[in-house]
Symmetry: D2
Subunit: 345 residues, 4 copies
Amino acid sequence: MISFESDYNNGAHPQIIRRLSETNSETAPGYGADRFCESAKEKICRAIGKDNLQVEFLVGGTQTNAIVISTMLSDNEGVLSAKTGHINLHEGGAIEYTGHKVTELEQKNGKILIPELKKYLSDFFADENHEHMVAPGMVYISHPTEYGTLYTKEELTCISKICREYGISLFLDGARLGYGLLSRETDVSLKDIAELCDVFYIGGTKVGALCGEAVVFTRNNKPKHFLTSIKKRGALLAKGRLLGIQFDTLFTDNLYFEISKNAIDKAETLKELFRSRRFKFFIDSPTNQQFVILDNSVMKKLGEKVSFSYWEKYDENSTVVRFATSWATTDDDLKSLSEILDEVI
Amino acid sequence: MISFESDYNNGAHPQIIRRLSETNSETAPGYGADRFCESAKEKICRAIGKDNLQVEFLVGGTQTNAIVISTMLSDNEGVLSAKTGHINLHEGGAIEYTGHKVTELEQKNGKILIPELKKYLSDFFADENHEHMVAPGMVYISHPTEYGTLYTKEELTCISKICREYGISLFLDGARLGYGLLSRETDVSLKDIAELCDVFYIGGTKVGALCGEAVVFTRNNKPKHFLTSIKKRGALLAKGRLLGIQFDTLFTDNLYFEISKNAIDKAETLKELFRSRRFKFFIDSPTNQQFVILDNSVMKKLGEKVSFSYWEKYDENSTVVRFATSWATTDDDLKSLSEILDEVI
Amino acid sequence: MISFESDYNNGAHPQIIRRLSETNSETAPGYGADRFCESAKEKICRAIGKDNLQVEFLVGGTQTNAIVISTMLSDNEGVLSAKTGHINLHEGGAIEYTGHKVTELEQKNGKILIPELKKYLSDFFADENHEHMVAPGMVYISHPTEYGTLYTKEELTCISKICREYGISLFLDGARLGYGLLSRETDVSLKDIAELCDVFYIGGTKVGALCGEAVVFTRNNKPKHFLTSIKKRGALLAKGRLLGIQFDTLFTDNLYFEISKNAIDKAETLKELFRSRRFKFFIDSPTNQQFVILDNSVMKKLGEKVSFSYWEKYDENSTVVRFATSWATTDDDLKSLSEILDEVI
Amino acid sequence: MISFESDYNNGAHPQIIRRLSETNSETAPGYGADRFCESAKEKICRAIGKDNLQVEFLVGGTQTNAIVISTMLSDNEGVLSAKTGHINLHEGGAIEYTGHKVTELEQKNGKILIPELKKYLSDFFADENHEHMVAPGMVYISHPTEYGTLYTKEELTCISKICREYGISLFLDGARLGYGLLSRETDVSLKDIAELCDVFYIGGTKVGALCGEAVVFTRNNKPKHFLTSIKKRGALLAKGRLLGIQFDTLFTDNLYFEISKNAIDKAETLKELFRSRRFKFFIDSPTNQQFVILDNSVMKKLGEKVSFSYWEKYDENSTVVRFATSWATTDDDLKSLSEILDEVI
């Protein structure tokens, strides 16, 4: 069975396994004070091309979202998110568990609607009763979004400007950031993100690592005593080297970008496989997640030979499913898919 | 200046002040173990007309919502609410502070749309990923709603049935319950509510008391060690008698219902005052809150002589404002309003 | 049955009931924006004799402790308390519920041992691993303590100095503050407290009010958006006037101090009643709580005619019990007690 | 520099790295639903020698403590721990962050004093005011303790009995469990622990893994919806295989026990190195952590060639330091240490 189910169903990029093996017998201090973390942080800063960045490593995406949001918000504040945002729908209430509200904004294709954001903020501060309400303290976006879509540089700039006007933080969830940066249809660079956002993270789990997300604070705004806050949330890894080695490897010789490019190339081929066979897409995604509408009978047959994710019901007879490529997807995977598609139709 | 700004801008019903005075020199055990609380609980049960009810007194509405919700939900659960629900918009994130998510449902005139509720629940349990999501553990409604509207008995019955089908609790916020029960356009009785809901409260703060809400658990479902949970949330009143005496008074000789009726009678007269002068209503409210659309120039002039609440902008030239009557509104207040309206137009 | 069980078993001082009655028909804005709160705040500042104080009213003691502590601490911080501190033992975990640790310090007669405090702080900051530990962010003391004892001015000054040296807040729980200030054996004034502490509160619940505590921030250090933080914790009283009127009354014509003096005078007489009959005291308390050691047989007989509180087992044959006087204790109460003591021995 | 600083300063056991490499290209479902986790669970159950165990994998120790404690306690409950317990001192307040109190008990050499535990529980339930207090809902112990000491089977049995008598859970933190089980001075087996405790965990991070702890619920008492609770706490690893593969390897061919034995053998040799040179021990530890008292001058010279952990000041001239052996300690390490000791004295 070939797998397009998700971008975290493989192990790690072989180079990571190799480095884990090579460095294994070395002793290193715990809790992120090792030389691998240090080196990885430097390389990440170099890849971004900016100084004065503060980089910290955490284990997973939900954990990172909860820690960043809860340590950056004030007591009276909450976070604004697209209704479809990962923090709003798929994190089991992890943000609320920290005592902060996620306020939904209307969205389209996974992206916050900028006029909605503007309206929300201006209405909020115009409301005489707003001291009884949760103050907006942060805007959360993901890039790519849950639907694989991307903000344009203009959109990001605009959201960033709004946030600064109101004095609130802009946080970009980059769990799949590589796949966004390497999209053929983006004008947003890593440096742009570092300039426009107050904090963001570079996802490792879905882009070649066994685990790990690299959080970047862009304005010397890392919360004070951040290590204690991480510990308090049960997220401080004793062997921080595991994260350091992985990100050091990913940011050596451009690996992170190259493997991200592989996912995009494969996604474009996959798109073409479906498009040429007259399948319809639920959404036009320029990244590694592709949302295809399948007749239920086709879906059933296809599902016997290929794994993919159920997304949602489209209508009585058809269903939206997701095919995800990744750093690990091969030409052979796509060749097999092509053959199976021919069989199935 | 005559006041229609809210239903909690007066002191208490004079009978309550009298009883506080009469009982003042009596000593009584603390934390709700006094004879006044006991008597009040009995009278409330009698007013409801059901046995086996568990009644507890708390100080205020947001406090009650947070305590009821957080003690009744399991760790993996959240609460469903109309987008306009008080817990979702106007409690400063008090529910999220307890670690539980408030999930918004579409609404109309402050009421949950029943098909939306059904759809949400059936979609949730159909979703293969629902273990990554906050499980719906409770439906929160208010009656009257934020917009003064009321559920019909048929609607309440239907929501109750849905909740039982899915094994989740139905919680009715009755901060203004008296004004709902005495509405001329309701077919819902206090007993109906006790039969259809798992837990609800009878608001005192907005219906004649200085403070206080009476929570009623209808199925022997009061959370275990509830007193400790109240203490843990900083909500245990040392002199519980203050709540006991007030509710004992409100439920003696039908006082709660009579003063609620006064608010309704006055609201109907107020409605007529505006209607006969061709003012438009934003919503058709059968309770004590009336939402009138005022030309901005009229609003300004009126605001010099009458206090009311700003609600929201209607269009460039006009605004929605709220007039609230209460147990304390008098014929004189309405007569003055009538005269002022004539002046202002 | 005459009652010495606690200092919150009576209603309110009659003057408070009178003022509630007199002001009852007045309308007033909600949430503490009323003229009574304003007036009360001014009078409290005058009584303290300092400018630039920020005063806020809350409903009860545990609520106040939880709100002050959780809004003043940073994420990585906890609060230091005597092992016997109210927040450590008798608040159902209300502080921990806000996500902050209470760290116990050794105590004597309810008072923090100053050398212990010093040692704790110097050890903490000397520990290389202290980033893995909860940082001390506040010292909590109560005055009087749980055992009715008082800090001397020298002790308070010393604790205050230590706190400033380490940059942490000093918070004084004054649930029974009046009884401390009017003790015949204290050299600590209200002004001293305002100068030495960063925040403290003047208890109303146990000193003549139905409910209410007046929090005083002494260095323009009221947490930002404090009203929203109060709301978020379910503690914002809609009819804030209830607190304003009570504190306005207590701080008119010296009432708070006069009724506190009554409790002290009665406590001194009570002490004498026991002392002259050769009863032993568990502790030497200069305030309104007296801890007497009773033979179990005496305790039983006495308990039939007088109410008091069980404190702890002293030995096989005797028990420590607490007699509390209050603003409401009368000469007649003591005369009766004297007679009963004679009967019982 | 040879390292005895801690037992988590090395990479993983080489066999784990090998397995990660061998299985790397395999695809596997996320979130612990992979075949490696399943196999690891089976092998762990077999190693314990009991049926009906529920095993779950988490990433780190503090995380595991916080999740187990917060999902097993009721709202009104807290956890009892030795004053020196890891959860009480070195987890940055992670337990309190979940809203539950850690109550300190007196200890000796890191172990709860059983009479203290008994007294605490009997006093608590005798206290008439205990509804105002945090109820003891769980006893937390670690084995080995923070001081490397071990409970005897008799002690464990006794604590277990007390817990059952009071209906509270017994939770054993086994972050270093291997080193406890393989101690030459223990009579406690893995099966004993499974029989006496309600929940415990088998530490991976400090016993050969890169990360990972295996939680074992022994009475079908895994909290409902545990996966959602893990997600809610940001602790659900997307690539659960990382934990599955490691524990599968550790529990294949007895590896976990063999490498634990290595640490013990090396610790015994290390003890002898110091003992034969007349060094004094701070505590008599039968496991892999050895606490030696060093003259400050010796400490300084030794510290230039060997890394160890500062523990605490012993007196003006000497200091307690910790030497930890591990699965990775070699004969060569000890030979070097021996030579360095000779140089230094």
